[in-house]
Amino acid sequence: MASVGSKGRQPELMADFGRLYGTFWSHGVVDHPTKEVVRMRNARLTECRL
């Protein structure tokens, strides 16, 4: 997909998303390595470079 570019876009919305994502990532019962493997697999399937 052509990049819309997130820098400076909707900063408050992005902050909300960051808090949600950060809480998901830093808490919970699934260990970090498992989360990371799933994240990387998903990124490869969707060709996400992040």
Binding site: M1, A2, V4, G5, S6, R9, Q10, E12, L13, M14, D16, F17, R19, L20, T23, F24, H27, G28, T46, E47
Partner: protein, 135 residues
């Protein structure tokens, strides 16, 4: 989400901002939310109508015609662009090109496109989770 109430609270904060601050036109956003729910088989989400969109004049006739959005004259160009992007976001995100003719860039500012895409991510991600956890 009952197992992670802190996540649900943050999810609702984000969605409240998306709707309350009208970061993107609410009827187009609602049609996309409903189309994503339809694609995921998320009956619970599809049964809901977001009040902001209802107050803006959401038409149940459009919802009934949602599978035919590309040809039905009731849909505006902006709604078609948003719905086309929403479908590709769910089905094949690699094929989504905001700059194609009739695409998002033609009808939405960069800020609006960003709000739409965050909305798609929330509707799709949590819709999939709800679908798996409630089946």
């Amino acid at each position: 989400m009952a197992l992670r109430p802190e996540l649900d609270s943050l999810r609702l904060t984000l969605l409240d901002r998306l709707w309350d601050e009208r970061l993107v036109e609410p009827i187009a956003l609602e049609l996309c939310r409903l189309r994503i729910a339809m694609l995921l088989g998320d009956d619970e989400a599809f049964a809901v109508r977001t009040p902001h969109a209802v107050m803006a004049g959401l038409d149940e006739g459009q919802i009934a015609a949602l599978t035919d959005w590309a040809a039905d004259a009731r849909f505006t160009g902006a709604q078609r662009a948003a719905l086309g992007a929403a479908e590709l976001f769910v089905i094949d995100v690699r094929a989504l090109d905001a700059n194609q003719p009739g695409g998002l860039t033609e009808f939405f500012s960069s800020d609006e496109q960003y709000a739409l895409l965050i909305g798609f991510a929330m509707f799709d991600g949590f819709g999939r989770m709800r679908r798996v956890l409630t089946d």
